[in-house]
């Protein structure tokens, strides 16, 4: 079973990389774009047929390694 995972910085954590990207976007003349936040994207496969159990495994991977819950949050979506 395949999942996609987004890991993003929490709202109150400063994202200097997103800010730098935003500066470059502004330089391109795309003046309507703002509030750029940079994050991480993962896909992974779980050898498990039960969706609930598979998702639990993905959650555990997020909590223990893929995301640092002090500064980041994550979302998991099943891929068809």
């Amino acid at each position: 079973m395949k999942f996609e995972i987004f890991v993003t910085l929490k709202k109150d954590v400063l994202d200097p990389q997103g800010k730098a990207v935003e500066g470059a976007i502004k330089n391109l003349g795309l003046s309507t774009i703002s509030n750029i936040r940079q994050g991480k994207y993962f896909t992974l496969e779980v050898a498990e047929t039960d969706e609930h159990k598979a998702k639990q495994q993905a959650e555990e991977a997020c909590k223990k390694l893929l995301a640092n819950l002090t500064i980041e949050e994550y979302s998991i979506k099943k891929l068809s």
């Binding site: 400063l14 200097p16 390694l65 640092n68 002090t70 500064i71």
Partner: protein, 224 residues
């Protein structure tokens, strides 16, 4: 006194810290990260470097290595653990210290001498330092911007866990003397039990006049 220095793939200050420890007659054993048993130690050091090439988040993969289970257990029983630079990042990722080290606010790798002020000289790592002693110590990092939640910051203050803050030559702690954007100019903290210290500056690089300074010596003397 015996110390163990944990070596991760990508550590590059492991030999520097070994030289520093041995200068103060601390017998040092290098321990590869895949070991499952920690030698009998009075001190464990997590050295600086770029473990796993800083992939994912600095220190994240190293914090899950086999030997870290032992280090976490050792710290839990009151053993002294000292993390420098990448070692500090590994300690926060392992949950041994609160907070996280984010990308420097100006997005630049910073390699220069900075001043730090001793805020807590009542720890095993700082007891030989006078109150508010200002040290000149180099930093060399891309991700040293200390972040913690409001609650964690309050708890750090309440429990006197802030050990070093970036300052200027006169000891003023201000925005101008903050090299990387760290909350409250934090350069180093201890855990609540005061047996785990993490700091971004490199005291092991200033233990001999030949290296450009001796301000790191008092930290190693404190450990004896």
């Amino acid at each position: 006194m015996k110390a163990s220095v944990i070596v991760f793939p990508g550590s590059n200050c492991d030999r520097d810290i070994q030289v520093a420890l041995e200068k103060f007659q601390i017998a040092t054993t290098m321990v590869w990260h895949q070991e499952t048993e920690l030698p009998k130690s009075d001190l464990v050091v997590l050295p600086g470097g770029f473990s796993y090439g800083d992939y994912l988040r600095c220190g994240s993969m190293a914090s899950k290595s086999k030997i870290m289970k032992e280090v976490i257990q050792y710290a839990g029983t009151g053993g002294y653990v000292f993390g420098i630079c990448n070692g500090f990042q590994i300690l926060t990722e392992a949950g041994l210290l609160p907070g996280a080290l984010l990308r420097n606010n100006k997005l630049k790798f910073i390699c220069k001498d900075v001043q730090i002020k001793t805020i807590n000289n009542q720890t095993a790592f700082t007891k030989k330092l006078s109150e508010h002693k200002i040290l000149t110590v180099p930093i060399a990092h891309n991700d040293g911007n200390f972040f913690a939640s409001k609650e964690e910051i309050q708890s750090l203050k309440d429990n006197n866990q802030i050990v070093f803050q970036y300052c200027d030559k006169e000891g003023n702690i201000s925005g101008e003397s903050n090299p990387n954007g760290s909350f409250l100019n934090i350069a180093g903290i201890v855990n609540k039990n005061k047996n785990v210290l993490g700091m971004m500056p490199h005291p092991e690089r200033v233990i001999d006049q030949l290296l450009g300074g001796t301000d790191g010596q008092e930290i190693f003397r404190s450990l004896l």
